[in-house]
């Protein structure tokens, strides 16, 4: 056989293959996809079953576990209604090592002799695998006896242009992105998340498009032509999709930037929000735009407006940098004000235990509480006094 014949046959084989491929796409394609998803699901379940038996073995040999430690809070943590109005203050932690490692959180927990009932993480929108609903992570957090909180950031530019031909090109996508979310342009993504959240089924906090009123920070801010009404419409739309997909296990955390004005105008309404979330981070003297602010100084102006919403308040990001002041004193005063000045509103505090934060400055910032042993010792005492454990 001549080489020419051989290539001819190969060429026609390709033709047949394409013909079969089209038939395949039309008929069996979806079947293949569901088979694929089923295999994936089965593998994940297998891994979870393995994880469970490993967790049981660890508990058996150590005679204790995180779940046992958090058992007194179980009635609160295991139901959506319990979490809507917790009887005791809930504490939480965010650690920069997620979703790969809990090493940083472990160090913090062992230093302060406490296990946090809320574990916070951040996930961006997009087509990357890391931007899918983090089922593995939330399952793991749940199996550790805690409740996950996902800060869900609509970075719409992360969607692939070739995969999503119906979306505008990347540079144009960020302008008025909240309106397009409200229109349903991103439902392909939101629906998948809602389904996965419903499949998870256990209570979880979802903090969508936080700091939406800050024009200097995220692309979903007002600088990109996103008006308060657009935000509210987007929020309600996302909320609706989750309801339709039966993701009623989600607690909605509405989280404005309290140092920026007019945040009240972004409130979607009592029916769509379960918690009000705020960030109280003291940047100290790391930059020209910052100075040493106490917890009270950051919160006092906004607090009355927040209280009017009649929702429990969560400090979703709580911490201070060491530069320019005394960390111990900052935490001591913060807990004093949490107990006395703001005791009617604040129901949860999530420590921002990020050792390597590069979102605000070129040099990484270290928010870890463990830098100051006195401060860490004080926080340990405060947690013991407040935890209800």
């Amino acid at each position: 056989m001549s080489a020419r014949n051989r290539y001819q046959i190969a060429f026609f084989a390709l033709g047949w293959l394409i013909a079969f491929g089209i038939l395949f796409q039309m008929g069996v394609g979806s079947g293949f996809h569901s088979l694929y998803d089923a295999v994936n699901d089965r593998l994940r379940r297998l891994a979870q079953r393995f994880s469970d038996s490993e967790g049981n073995a660890v508990r058996d040999v150590r005679g204790s576990s995180r779940t046992d430690y958090l058992a007194p809070l179980r009635p609160t943590l295991s139901t959506v209604n319990g979490l809507k109005n917790p009887p005791t203050m809930l504490f939480g932690v965010y650690d920069g090592g997620l979703p790969n490692t809990f090493a940083g959180m472990d160090r913090l927990e062992s230093r302060v002799q406490y296990k946090f009932p809320i574990i916070s993480c951040y996930v961006a929108w997009g087509d990357k695998p890391t931007e899918k609903f983090p089922t593995r992570l939330v399952e793991t957090i749940n199996r550790m006896g805690s409740v996950p909180m996902i800060t869900w950031e609509p970075w719409v530019v992360d969607f692939d242009e070739t995969l999503r031909p119906n979306l505008p090109k990347r540079p144009e996508r960020e302008y008025a992105s909240l309106a397009s979310i409200a229109r349903g342009d991103y439902d392909f993504y939101i629906v998948e998340w809602a389904k996965a959240a419903a499949a998870f089924g256990k209570p979880m906090f979802l903090r969508f498009a936080h700091e939406m009123n800050d024009p200097y920070r995220y692309p979903w801010g007002p600088q990109n032509g996103n008006r308060p009404d657009d935000f509210i419409a987007a929020w309600k739309h996302v909320h609706l999709v989750f309801q339709k997909m039966n993701a009623t296990n989600v607690l909605w955390v509405w989280s404005p930037h309290i140092s920026m004005p007019w945040f009240e105008y972004y409130y979607p309404g009592a029916d769509f929000v379960d918690w009000v979330g705020i960030g109280v981070l003291n940047y100290g003297t790391i930059a020209s735009w910052s100075r040493w602010w106490s917890f009270h100084q950051i919160l006092e102006k906004a607090y009355p407006a927040l209280m009017k919403l009649e929702k429990p308040i969560m400090i979703c990001e709580f911490g201070t940098l060491p530069a320019g002041g005394d960390e111990y004193e900052w935490y001591r005063q913060a807990f004093y004000h949490i107990d006395h000045t703001y005791n009617r509103g604040i129901r949860a505090v999530v420590f921002f235990n990020q050792e390597y934060d590069i979102t605000m400055s070129s040099a990484p910032l270290n928010w870890s509480l463990l830098q100051d042993q006195r401060a860490a010792g004080y926080v340990a005492q405060a947690l013991a006094a407040h935890s209800g454990l």
Partner: protein, 521 residues
């Protein structure tokens, strides 16, 4: 019909065979499978090379190198299958002057020569057989005379077998020379089936299949033979299709003029490959005849096998580093690919080392090359594996002796991976340029010390068991609970990886055990 005991029926074994012809429908089906295979590789590649998969860059590069080395080799196998081409038989014209060269070295068993020389006498096409002898043993000279062969005493000539061939070339005049390894028993039609191709004046050498009669003798013999079936089947037939068929020391018939054009047979540990790359660089054509025209011996004990592999590994790397760059300019595109692939065959020693190291690095030092779970890897790599197996099994229809050769060649695979340390040794020796002595591969089954033969795989086994025990202990008692829970899947995946590696070492351990020295012997 296939014999029930395929390796015990001599009449069946020593029969002239030719690989089944390639039908057009087979090419169609193969074409479809190759496209699907290529697509599965593409699918795997788009998944593998994602920036978010990089966890530890240097390790990721190493792991990618090992993985893609394997996949590229697989695809080159497919490319060969695509080009499978069998030459039509050409009748040998009368009156060609032909010599058969066979060599003997001290220590080689006398009985083997009795059989080989007797068989050479029975080869029907008129020829002269020469025994190139450096044993200094009078029995060999007598044997040659009894068998109607010319005895040529060639003692103390450097360059081992190839040196003797070159010396004999100077003393003879035949136009065509069949180099026959002494363990190979030629079948009567041998020369009739190959000489016809020399009608084309550009054909420099004609290679035939290399088959064995002792493959049923032991696990190692079986495994070593299994490693060659595909090569003498679809691979060399594909190389024939691309004009890259190589000379394999034994059973190759050369045109004297071709050998003279490169200054004689090449020397070195991979003398056959040296000769063939030089001939190709000079523009000579080669033909591969997919026929069983002789049967020889395959190493039947682990020690001989490992020695042979070390010799080849060292020799092949020598070709890759020395001959290949020199010949590169004069080779055709197909030949460049082909010799690069042959030259890098033994790099599998290096990639196996990488595979063995990766789970250990994670379980002891927490270093993880890639940020994906084993389950995701399996999901994306499975199509490549499935098409690899399907195409391999399909291409077995072109094996030269399917009755004895078809099957899942797990023995060959296990022994190949188990021999990684020897391949690696050959690679390192050629990088630092240390010589390996040329010793002809043993023709008899030898026994060796189990502990010495199995040292490497046993070390791997012990390290793996210790690592597994330590990991379970650490997960249960030492690592903080939260960390146990979040790393559970990665740790389990790495443990599985470790166990797979250990299982892959089992072939060599078993072979060492089967060949161990016994007190009663």
């Amino acid at each position: 019909m296939a014999s029930v005991r395929p390796w015990s029926d001599d009449a069946e074994i020593f029969r002239h065979r030719r690989a089944a012809p390639v039908h057009t429908w087979e090419r169609w089906l193969l074409g479809v499978m190759l496209f699907l295979g290529a697509q599965s590789v593409f699918y795997f590649a788009t998944w593998w090379f994602r920036t978010e998969h990089v966890n530890n860059l240097p390790l990721f590069i190493l792991l990618s190198g090992a993985t893609w080395y394997g996949i590229v080799r697989l695809m080159v196998g497919w490319y060969n299958a695509f080009h499978v081409e069998q030459p039509d038989p050409v009748v040998a014209p009368d009156g060609l002057s032909v010599a058969i060269f066979t060599t003997s070295a001290p220590g080689e068993p006398y009985d083997m020569f009795v059989r080989t020389l007797a068989a050479a006498r029975e080869v029907t096409y008129a020829h002269t057989t020469y025994l190139l002898d450096d044993t200094g043993d009078a029995r060999f000279a007598q044997l040659a005379r009894d068998m109607g062969a010319v005895h040529m005493e060639l003692i103390g000539i450097p360059g081992a077998k190839a040196g003797k061939i070159n010396a004999a070339l100077e003393r003879t005049t035949e136009e065509f020379i069949l180099v026959l390894d002494p363990d190979h028993i030629p079948l009567p039609p041998f020369l009739d089936r190959v000489l016809g191709y020399f009608a084309d004046p550009n054909v420099g050498f004609v290679q035939v299949s290399q088959a064995y009669y002792n493959a049923g003798e032991s696990f190692v013999a079986r495994a070593a033979a299994e490693q060659t079936f595909a090569f003498y089947g679809p691979i060399l037939q594909g190389m024939n299709g691309t004009g890259t068929a190589v000379a394999i020391g034994a059973n190759c018939t050369f045109r004297r003029q071709a050998l003279q054009s490169i200054g004689g047979h090449g020397l070195g540990l991979a003398e056959d490959l040296v000769t063939s790359i030089r001939l190709h660089a000079k523009g000579w054509k080669s033909i591969y005849v997919p026929e069983v025209l002789s049967r020889g011996l395959v190493p039947s004990d682990l020690q001989s096998f490992l020695r042979q592999q070390l010799k080849w590994s060292r020799g092949v790397h020598e070709v890759l580093f020395r001959e290949y760059p020199r010949a590169f300019r004069d080779l055709s595109g197909h030949q460049r690919i082909s010799y690069l692939m042959i030259g890098s065959y033994y790099l599998v020693g290096l990639t196996t080392l990488i595979y063995l190291t990766i789970p250990l690095l994670y379980l002891w030092a927490g270093k993880q090359p890639a940020a994906f779970f084993l389950s995701e890897y399996v999901q994306h790599a499975a199509p490549v594996g499935i098409f690899g197996i399907l195409i391999y099994q399909f291409a077995q229809r072109w094996f030269c002796d399917p009755d004895r050769e078809r099957g899942f060649h797990w023995r060959g695979t296990l022994l190949k991976i188990g021999s990684w340390s020897v391949f690696l040794q050959g690679f390192v020796l050629s990088v630092v340029n240390v010589a390996v002595p040329y010793i002809p591969t043993s023709k008899e089954r030898k026994r060796g010390n189990f502990w010495r033969l199995a040292r490497v795989p046993l070390t791997v086994l012990i390290i793996s068991v210790l690592t597994a025990v330590w990991t379970v202990f650490r997960q249960l008692f030492v690592v903080p609970e939260a960390e146990v829970r979040i790393t559970t899947e990665v740790t389990a995946g790495m443990l599985l990886f470790l166990i797979c590696n250990t299982v892959l070492m089992s072939g060599r351990i078993y072979a060492a055990w089967a060949d161990r020295e016994r007190v009663d012997e």
